[in-house]
Amino acid sequence: MYENLETAENKENLKRVVIDPVSRVEGHGKVTLLLDEDNKVKQARLHIVEFRGFERFIQGRPYWELPVLVQRLCGICPVSHHLAAAKAIDQLVGVDPENLPPAADKLRRLLHFGQVMQSHALHFFHLSSPDLLFGFESDISKRNIIAVLNEYPDIGLQGVKLRKYGQEVIRMVSGKRIHGTGAIAGGMNKSLTKEERDYLLKDIDQMIEWSVGAVALIKKVHCSNLPYYDDFATIPTSYLGLTKNSGALEFYHGGIRAKDANGGTIMDHIDYCKYNDYIHEEVRSWTYMKFPYLTALGQEKGWYRVGPLARVNICDSIDTPLAEQARVEFKQHGSEPMVHSTLAFHWARLIETLHCAESIKQLLADPDLMSSDLVTQGEKRFEGIGVIEAPRGTLFHHYQVDENDIVTKANLIVSTTSNNMGMNESVRQVAAEYLSGQELTEPLLNNLEVAIRAYDPCLSCATHAVGKMPLQLELVDAEGNLIDKLVKHSDGQFEKTT
């Protein structure tokens, strides 16, 4: 571990390097490095502008608005927020998950598989494949989707079409690509028509085939570069996620499981409505983002990772055959019970993509999807908690309402928050093992971004006003004098000044 690089001593004697913002992640992140006169890294931190205003945005609104309202928190994973909120407000109308009409449960699962599939496809093919196919320190002009489309046209196009297919699943289930109102308190507001089902069935075998190819591709990339891929940004950690009662991989509804770095069980089948008893959040002075930890292990040792790597690590199996076969191969590639390689996030992500494609096919064969029995209600409650596995990891929505159905309290723990410590540790590992002592160049600094990108962090603001988001990297000496400056303008052009 590299905790010693979180806070340096004698900062006044150190040079400061800033990567701001980190590119190919959602939202605004910044990395700062403090270097001594020999360019040895003494401090490395990932700073993230937190999702401030979430709770204020939600409080004071009637609960039934939440599934639509929370989609606007994030332009990247609106369906994840939509479903987590829907699960929470089910409880407000007295409906527990096991009492949801089967059609509603299956439609929500279909919606969620579509969301995870499109999100994972975007991340792998669009944002990460340039690094993985061309190399972390390759010419910057190559590290983009256009270069992938030009040099690997089949892979590039498959990525675009997998993404599109996932979006079409969302559109069919919720009625719209975005702002759809698929899930409502106690159920769903529409089922699939036969035409909609047939439309999705038409291409699903192709999606499964491409997903199988994608798993084979990442396995080949990963295993062709051993031990580098198993060492880069790698940190032994605990992992947390939902699983089914059987211990199988689960995205929509299950109990909380956490395992330690050796594969030992920390907790299992925990009712997520009691998450507050098991997870606390720590605040640190240098970042807006909180650091969640397992109370059983304490602040120092209780941090954990979530997301594809966590889920594939902690589950006992996957209940679709091709993805299960891929999971077994994934686990067997290393010699330890848990796969800690940060770059293995990509591999796990594509195993999940395959699982989504297989699951979508299974669900589309289920006549319940066309049932009209979509909504149920029970006795009103004043508190609701919804937890799902979003593409980037476990997502918690927790609401309290008053007698007028107005939200009085909201608490959200988003996936990227849970990975905050993991991302910081990965940044420190790369800084210490790959950058320390070297003259910093853009290709070398891309290694830090590669480590962060593996987590697919969503630092979302969903605001994309034209003209924003420049990147500026400054090298300042011990006296505070600017030595080097690299600027990426909003039009994408780079300028270096000395």
Binding site: S23, R24, V25, E26, G53, F54, R56, F57, L69, R72, L73, G75, I76, P78, Q118, L122, H126, L127, P130, R143, N144, I145, I146, L149, N150, P153, G156, L157, G159, V160, K161, R163, K164, Q167, R177, I178, H179, S460, C461, A462, T463, H464, A465, V466, G467, K468, M469, K488, D491, G492
Partner: protein, 159 residues
């Protein structure tokens, strides 16, 4: 049947003036004949939106812009390999570039209507200035959709 004209407005309705793109679509839906016009919206542009450009005669992207010096701006787009093609939110020009890379052919003529926005915080209402800009941009968009001739659209570009 694919409609020949695509109007794609993007932005987040709950982020103040970022709502300008989707709100202009609402205006168009109320005020214009949509027989030949398809309206699409999303939070932001992404790689798969290149597939929405297939078989179109004209494409109009609509977005909020902090760089806009007047109430609105109108320009023609060319495929451009800017850095946005490697983010979660692409520029319309880079979507055209993706179209070109996928289809191995030129994209349909595409234009960007930028509407000046000032404030983009979560939970904010549309600013009063943005409301005025939206009204003016809406009038302009109506003119465009009443005359979907490529040369006419090009003539509307201010130098």
């Amino acid at each position: 049947m694919i409609k020949p004209i695509l109007v794609f407005g993007y932005g987040n309705l709950s982020r103040g003036d970022d709502a300008l793109g989707p709100l202009l679509l609402e205006h168009i839906e109320e005020q214009c004949n949509l027989e030949a016009v398809e309206i699409l919206t999303d939070f932001q542009l992404q790689v798969e939106h290149a597939l929405d450009l297939e078989n179109r005669k004209l494409v109009l992207f609509v977005d909020a812009s902090v760089s806009c010096k007047t109430a609105f701006d109108f320009c023609e787009l060319q495929p451009l390999k800017d850095k946005s093609y490697s983010t979660h939110a692409m520029s319309p020009a880079s979507v055209l570039q993706v179209y070109q890379a996928i289809k191995k052919q030129d994209p349909p003529p595409a234009f960007l209507l930028s509407i000046q926005g000032l404030s983009f915080e979560l939970g904010e209402e549309l600013s009063s200035q943005a409301e005025k800009n939206l009204f003016l941009a809406g009038q302009f968009a109506r003119q465009l959709l009443n005359n979907t001739d490529l040369n006419y659209w090009r003539q509307q570009i201010k130098n």
